[in-house]
Symmetry: C2
Subunit: 449 residues, 2 copies
């Protein structure tokens, strides 16, 4: 079938600095080296050899306790914990790679913008322009309780803080003009003082004098990654994000989301092509359809229902322990992360799952229905790309590093054969590989609400 959309897809890898999906660590091929750089560096080398745009690390700031107000299931089954600070992890991946972008999550809720701006500017310098920041506002009470807050602020308040947080960090990234460094040993001129200025930010949440104590970084701003899919989140992402990742139960909902966010970006004066939308997918590659389905079943058997329920309670921030596990789930308001969870609950209602069955199903759930042979998987990816449901994909692995190895070995060559994916890195920075321009100094002004 001839391609109906020019261009190529982008590929990112979704990681946790700790065990990933429910039960994934139990797979015979899964490695459990989460406390050692070798594990992450191996992943980085696999992804770079496969020409991925970037790897990024999700994060949370505490052990979830959404199920029964207890950490027990999370600790017992390794769900959502442990989690290392992703900043040193991506620094260590960058130390053994040359082209692969590296992104880390940092919450605007529990950090200060000066520190965040300096950390990501440092990473962008130390990676020669390969750094990304996944901006989150944090959504769990369990996190708030680790930072002196009884309760999480509401979503709208969190995004107001996030907006000002980004404004401050961007002002700081621009506080040294490009070219301010002189490094003239003979004259002793280190930098041009006229090219470095305070920011004197005085806002509702933050008062920051600046300037940053670092020159402007190779990418100007690190690549901003965002996953907000609530109305507040979409508006935030349409203004600030270079990459949006999302999750959809159907191609139709993905197409609608894609159109809406691109239109929103255009309304904010941005070129919609400069915002890349990458739905999460979990490929399960088989030699045949039957082989792939058998592999999927193998994963499902590793998932205890209680572990899946803990994960779902955490993701939707609703305590599912309050319901009879052997009866269907009553209708729920989704308080936690937004996105596809409405669809998840629709599936639960349609299938008439008991709460326990829902836990088992959700714990083993894969994203994007990419279960099959490489040809089938690439057909599906091509369809999503051609129909403008996606600019590329966030590969969310079943188990690490084996799932990345299988994708790299079997799926990437088929993508390349069809001209859908690069065979060599062409850009010097992550922005260049993504096709997202380097922001001019002062660009933050056009990103404000």
């Amino acid at each position: 079938m001839p391609r109906t959309r020019p261009g190529q897809i982008h590929l990112a890898a979704f990681m946790n600095a700790g065990p990933g999906g429910v039960g994934a660590w139990r797979h015979p091929d899964a490695e459990s080296g989460w406390f050692s750089p070798a594990f992450y560096q191996k992943v980085g080398r696999i992804l770079e050899a496969a020409r991925f745009d970037f790897v990024f690390f999700a994060d949370s700031l505490g052990i979830p306790r959404s199920f029964g107000n207890s950490i027990e299931n999370h600790v017992h089954y390794g769900v959502g914990t442990p989690r290392l600070d992703p900043i040193p992890v991506i620094a260590q991946i960058a130390a053994v790679t040359e082209h692969l972008g590296v992104g880390a999550t940092l919450s605007t809720g529990y950090q200060q913008p000066f520190n965040a701006a300096r950390t990501f500017s440092s990473l962008d310098h130390l990676t020669s322009g390969r750094a990304g920041w996944n901006v989150v506002t944090s959504f769990q009470d369990a996190e708030a309780l680790n930072f002196g807050n009884e309760k999480l602020p509401g979503r709208s308040e969190r995004y107001q803080r996030a907006d000002e947080f980004l404004e401050v960090t961007a002002k700081l990234w621009d506080s040294w003009q490009d070219g301010a460094l002189k490094l003239d040993k003979a004259s002793g001129d280190f930098a041009d003082p006229a090219a470095v200025a305070s920011i004197n930010h005085q806002g509702a949440h933050f008062q920051v004098q600046g300037p940053l104590s670092l020159p402007r970084s190779p990418q100007g701003y690190p690549v901003i990654i965002q996953a907000g899919s609530s109305p507040d989140g979409r508006d935030f992402a349409a203004r600030w994000a270079d990459v949006i990742f999302c999750s959809h139960a159907s191609i139709e909902s993905a197409i609608a989301f894609y159109a809406e966010v691109k239109a929103l970006a255009a309304r904010h004066g941005r070129d919609p092509d400069h915002l890349k939308i990458l739905p999460a997918v979990t490929p399960i590659v088989g030699r045949s359809e039957e082989d792939a389905e058998a592999r999927k079943l193998e994963f499902e058997e590793l998932v205890p229902a209680e572990a899946g329920l803990a994960r779902l309670s955490y993701h939707i921030d609703v305590d599912l322990s309050q319901f009879d596990l052997d009866k269907p789930l009553p209708p729920l308001e989704v308080k936690g992360v937004y996105g596809h969870y409405h669809e998840v609950l629709e599936v639960a209602a349609r299938e008439n799952f008991t709460v326990r069955q829902l836990g088992k199903w959700y714990g083993a759930r894969t994203e994007g229905d990419l279960v099959g042979t490489p040809a089938v998987i690439v057909d599906r990816m091509e369809e999503w790309f051609d129909r403008r449901a996606a600019d590329g994909f966030m590969i969310s692995p079943t188990h690490v590093p084996a799932a990345f190895e299988q994708f790299a070995e079997h799926v990437v060559p088929e993508l390349q054969r069809r001209g859908l994916f690069r065979t060599e890195y062409e850009g010097a920075t992550l922005r260049e590989n993504l096709g997202v321009p380097r922001p001019a100094s002062g660009e933050w002004k056009s990103r404000l609400r």
Copy 2:
């Protein structure tokens, strides 16, 4: 001369993630790769080959503006800025070394203990037990102004916050018992929930529920490094620090400080041998005494007086621009860092320096008077060790990496020949190499005031 004190010295390297001493970056042999991992990794490899205990990075959270309330001299001459976030820097050094300890500064004034505890636990895991934390309380108004505070809190208030900060981080490090991880693929038991507990800390500055989202790290607590030399600082260090670094204008003041801090540690119930005192020294190695003196002069000529004044204003947090540069300095109250600055001002008075001369002198000042041949330098180090002025030294280089290379090539072999320094690493962790025991779980209780 026979040794009068058994044991061996410890060696640490003092670094900035940016240009170091005033004018040092101008030296023909100085490298200026502060924005690239290769620079730091080269330093790490040199130090590991020389069997150093650890390298650590000083830090500050903003460009100083103590001189004339302006960043101008600092930017113009590269004094105290730029500064990368040291966390990714030490992660990248650890990625290419196996034995060298790696320490970073993090301020208790402008971070949250949950994040700090997780970052250093992550580093300790990712380095297999080689991480150190240099605890500072921050002393500049220029830093406070980057975090929404008009003025710096007083020293006593800063140390009260630091004390509670350390209490919370240590509770978090102990919130998973050793051995809590099971990783039993067959049963699905990831960890033992009975071995992981909330901390429920409710204090004056912090309320933190916990637990940490990470298992207890290889060293239990990272090595705690501290430089406080005010009465509040000494008390804090005597309770919490594993390593104290300090600066002395004479061996007599170093001996007095050493005796006082060790006695203080004993009064707090600690074995004084478990707190290592490392005065800062700046070796300038020559083929002869004349050669060494000539090298020292070479550095002095690279220092503009205005740059030295900016540095001194910053260190003592007194605006020296208010004085006539061509007259002697009037008597001053030292507001900023404590320590040796009283002695510095005594020297200025004794020498009857004008303010400008003082700036030039201070900018070019080296620590510990270690200027000479390797034999003379080692004589001096041996004297400091034998007379209990030091348990070892913090090598503060004139220029990087050349000064470390010269020290490694010429001084370390002489130290080894005299049995004063290790020829191989013996421990697996930084604590083991330092001879500082791994804290038992709950040890924080004995460290409180």
